[in-house]
């Protein structure tokens, strides 16, 4: 934070906040919380105090959302369900978490001299005893399988995309997974998703970035 005399002012976060109804306010805070927890890892000086305060805020919001009843598909956090959370995959190395939950766990553990890779929990999906750690969100609990991406209806992902700038004929080719060996675009599912990554909402972009990170992590761990 080396300033060149530039004033740091209050952002217009407050104005946004006041206009929103309570659930959206909560979502805004939740998004900020997740961003900060992730950036905790990248900071030069990780602070346990800060991480704990952020985690508590996150928990409080999650508890509130739970009390309002059931899973909330449209209000669940943008954090992705990733294949890494499957129990039989190797644990994430403690210094490079790929998800906010792992980020939180490792940031809590990172200062502990005794912590090693093996101490890091494998992921919320694999917790024993039916315990539902407060750190988890609904979306994490769902994702135990590696086929998350293929299980989704692709149409659902593309629902809210503004397609006005695209040629409708191109769009229809890309949106429907082509049968194997068909002419035209013989694109894999991954490519379909990546091609649209620039025009998704910010929460999906976060999802994409985290998916990329997971992909890289998989490669690193397996090699």
């Amino acid at each position: 934070m080396v300033g060149r005399g530039v004033k740091r002012k209050l952002s217009d976060c407050e104005d946004q906040m006041l206009d929103l109804p309570y659930p959206q306010q909560r979502q805004l805070v939740l998004d900020l919380c997740l961003d900060k927890l992730q950036s905790c890892q990248r900071r030069a000086e990780p602070s346990l105090h800060r991480s704990v305060l952020l985690a508590n805020t996150l928990r409080q919001i999650q508890r509130e959302m739970r009390q309002e009843g059931g899973p909330h598909p449209e209000s669940s956090p943008p954090a992705p369900a990733t294949p890494r959370h499957s129990p039989d995959l190797p644990p994430v190395p403690s210094d490079r978490p790929s998800t906010p939950v792992a980020a939180l766990s490792s940031s809590l553990l990172c200062d502990d001299a005794q912590s090693t890779c093996t101490e890091l929990p494998k992921g919320p999906g694999s917790e024993d005893g039916g315990k539902s750690p407060d750190l988890m969100f609904g979306s994490f609990e769902i994702t135990n399988s590696t086929s998350y991406l293929t299980d989704l209806q692709l149409d659902d992902i593309f629902e809210d995309i503004d397609t006005s700038m695209y040629d409708p004929s191109d769009f229809s080719v890309l949106a429907c997974p082509p049968p194997r060996g068909s002419s035209g675009a013989s694109l894999g599912n991954d490519y379909n998703l990546k091609a649209f990554s620039t025009c998704t909402t910010s929460s999906s972009t976060l999802q994409m970035c985290l998916n990329d990170l997971d992909h890289i992590m998989e490669i690193l761990v397996r090699s």
Binding site: G3, R4, S11, C13, L28, T57, Q60, S105
Partner: protein, 447 residues
């Protein structure tokens, strides 16, 4: 112009000195991270992010009609160096988190300085004489051939220019897994405590290879961690008593006579939450950033994000006094959360007779609360107000849109300019206020 008073007369705070670079471009290493007067007030120490300690010494000009005093550089030394933890691939910052002076026992001065991991005991001593007239050595140090010596003389001490030397006498290392946030010297003059996020250790000042763990709040499963220790201090007179504050806004008082491990508190100071002020950020702003006993040992003061609270040690259910530092920020908490300012850790301090307390705020403002006279004042540490003996003009922040002349609106406040560290001379009305990289010294006009 009235200021917050420390006695029957109103104190008029005047600019005295400012130390540090004038440049707006702040070098990271120059950021001041702690300020502390010694027990007599003659010495003022500052620590910075670059691991350096600078000590200023008070010089009283008796020639003036009023006794003005000036603080001039006495000693500068590199206390801590950056280290690298290879196991965790983390750099251990050299930033000085706290400095605490030991009570003076002889001609030398001793202080403890700490970074995140290591505490060091430094001896600061003066040398104003040196031996001259060696038989076997020239004045410049060259050795004389003994065969050429025809007469012997006794070396004598002659005065020399004052030299102040700082030497590390003890290094207390490897006792903390988490970041050290506090050190506090016991009134028994033998021991001191050091606190990190989860543990508090008791040391003997002479023994560096072991310490006793007296508080441990680390849960068996780190995922259950919801609370950390934020500050700790020994009682000024009772050598068995200390307090520690937490990120949940509670303070625990512990008695070391009760058991070796003081995980169970003797007293728990916790104020019930005000439901009308509840928000997403309630817990974050209740996190205590500093705790200080009063000099008389009857009260303790805590600083959380928006307020200063004074507790009577005999009453655990609520504080006896609460002062709002910058209540106008309550409606801006979301922005402050977004830009991380909500995590800023402000310190607080008492004046010599415990009648006034002081703490910092944003825009280089600092606040004083006169407990007896129930008055408070906001002052500013800035170069504009820094003509010699210029009386500081009280400031006012306008919370709503109706800004009066000379008032500053909340939206114009500069959140990069924060005063986190302040110190008050133990006897006199002299205060040291640290902005990002400058140290301001203000004094009472009338003497």
């Amino acid at each position: 112009m009235a200021g917050a008073g420390g006695g029957s007369n109103d104190v008029q705070w005047c600019f005295s000195q400012v130390k540090g670079a004038i440049d707006d471009d702040v070098a990271e290493a120059d950021i001041i991270s702690t300020v502390e007067f010694n027990h007599s007030g003659e010495l003022l120490a500052t620590g910075d992010k670059g691991g350096r300690v600078v000590i200023f010494q008070q010089e009283i000009e008796k020639s003036q009609p009023q006794c003005r005093s000036e603080y001039n550089v006495y000693s500068t030394f590199q206390s801590h160096e950056p280290e690298f933890d290879y196991l965790k691939s983390l750099e251990i910052e050299e930033k000085i988190n706290k400095i605490r002076w030991l009570p003076q026992k002889n001609a030398a001065q001793f202080l403890l300085s700490t970074n995140d991991k290591t505490i060091k005991l430094w001896k600061i001593s003066e040398r104003d004489k040196r031996p001259e007239g060696y038989n076997l050595k020239e004045e410049d140090g060259r050795y004389i051939d003994p065969n050429t010596v025809t007469a012997l003389r006794v070396p004598v001490f002659r005065p020399m220019d004052l030299m102040v030397e700082a030497s590390p006498r003890r290094v207390f290392a490897n006792a903390h897994t988490y970041h050290i946030n506090s050190i506090s010297i016991n009134s028994d003059h033998e021991t001191y405590l050091s606190a990190d996020d989860l543990r508090i250790n008791l040391w003997h000042q002479e023994i560096t290879d072991r310490s006793f763990n007296i508080v441990d709040i680390k849960p068996a499963n780190m995922e259950e961690l919801t609370e950390v220790i934020t500050a700790a201090e020994f009682h000024p007179h009772q050598c068995n008593t200390f307090v520690y504050s937490s990120s949940k806004g509670t303070i625990r008082l512990c008695d070391m006579r009760a058991s070796a491990l003081c995980d169970t508190h003797s007293k728990l100071f916790e104020e019930p939450e005000d439901p009308s002020n509840r928000s997403f950020f309630s817990e974050i702003i209740s996190s205590i950033s500093d705790v200080k006993f009063s000099h008389n040992g009857r009260y303790m003061m805590i600083r959380d994000y928006l307020s200063v609270k004074i507790w009577d040690l005999n009453m655990e259910n609520r504080p006896v006094e609460t002062y709002q530092v910058h209540e106008y920020l309550r409606s801006k908490l979301c922005s402050l959360y977004e830009n991380d300012c909500i995590f800023d850790k402000f310190e607080c301090c008492w004046n010599g007779n415990d009648s006034v307390v002081m703490t910092g705020s944003y825009n280089n403002f600092f606040r004083m609360f006169d407990r007896g006279q129930r008055r408070d004042v906001t002052l500013e540490a800035s170069r504009e107000g820094s003509k010699p003996q210029q009386v500081l003009k009280p400031r006012k922040v306008c919370a709503d849109g109706k800004r009066k002349k000379d008032e500053i609106s909340v939206d114009s406040l500069d959140f990069n300019k924060k005063i986190l560290h302040t110190a008050w001379h133990p006897q006199d009305n002299i205060i040291a206020v640290a902005t990002t990289n400058n140290l301001y010294i203000f004094q009472d006009k009338v003497n």
